[in-house]
């Protein structure tokens, strides 16, 4: 009887210990930065080819990097990351980026319809995933 009681107390105690632990980690993940944000390889390829040239930390295009800096994307607060992803999806799907002028000068920047769909869908679904 005494043994059973001790076992019960132990189980409850252990349960509390783990409950605290899970609550804490949940808080951590929802509060701070999204460390689990990662750009898949195929998407990174499209970005490197058509976007990264202007949208990175050492870019000379001040306006471009202020709007969006792929090097800092993962460090953004969740709402900002979601906002940027939604912007990316919209801009790419509507064909506003890369700018027409730049594509004329450097035709290799051009996004194919397939690339547009891949990048746009990824950005949109990632934004939705982060907003769940």
């Amino acid at each position: 009887m005494k043994k059973q009681f001790i076992a019960l107390i132990t189980i409850v105690a252990v349960g509390f210990f783990f409950m605290n632990f899970t609550i804490q980690t949940e808080e951590n993940s929802s509060l701070g930065k999204k460390t689990n944000f990662e750009i898949p390889e195929n998407i990174q390829g499209i970005i490197d080819n058509s976007c990264y040239g202007c949208h990175h930390t050492d870019s000379k295009n001040e306006k471009g990097k202020k709007k969006l800096d792929f090097d800092k994307l993962a460090d953004l607060k969740t709402y900002k990351l979601v906002g940027k992803l939604a912007d990316i999806s919209e801009t790419v799907v509507e064909g506003d980026m890369p700018p027409e002028k730049a594509v004329k000068k450097y035709p290799e920047l051009k996004l194919s319809d397939e690339d547009k769909a891949t990048l746009g869908d990824w950005a949109k679904s990632t934004a939705e995933e982060l907003s769940k």
Partner: protein, 151 residues
């Protein structure tokens, strides 16, 4: 004689232009999805949103007298139409979380960069002029409001 003809022609053009439908965006006073109606927004922020943003970014636009006279009416109406398309606070609750995040991020950037209110607006609406401190209050609110959506 020739001068007179020019004036009469201009007058006729002015009158004819008034007859063109201006496509004035409708004013709707009852907006159940309105941002300010459904959220606890600090008074200072509410007042800034109303005086500096709501004329173009809500269904509650207040049209000044000159907004009824062409060709000014065309410009005013277009700004309001585009403004509501980009961001309409009257529809706030109907937006999903992704859209809200995007809009709040956009508000912060546009207000910080002094892109908004549009340069032409404050000279005609002096109460809509935002100081640097005003902008900080507004963007700080937008940021904490955005963060609260993701808590």
């Amino acid at each position: 004689m020739k001068k007179k003809t020019i004036w009469i022609t201009l007058l006729v053009i002015f009158i004819v232009v008034q007859l063109i439908p201006s496509g004035r965006p409708e004013v709707i006073k009852d907006n159940p999805n309105d941002l300010l109606l459904n959220n606890q927004v600090p008074t200072a922020v509410e007042s800034m949103l109303r005086t500096a943003c709501y004329d173009c970014h809500s269904n509650e636009s207040i049209y000044p007298w000159y907004a009824y006279i062409a060709p000014v009416s065309f410009l005013v109406n277009r700004d309001i139409r585009v403004g509501r398309e980009e961001l309409n606070f009257s529809d706030w609750e109907a937006f999903n979380k992704v859209e809200k995040a995007k809009l709040l991020d956009g508000i912060i950037e546009a207000v910080e960069a002094e892109e908004m209110p549009m340069a032409i607006y404050p000279p005609l609406h002096p109460e809509a002029k935002l100081s640097t401190e005003d902008r900080k209050v507004l963007t700080d609110w937008a940021e904490s409001f955005a963060e609260s959506l993701f808590e």
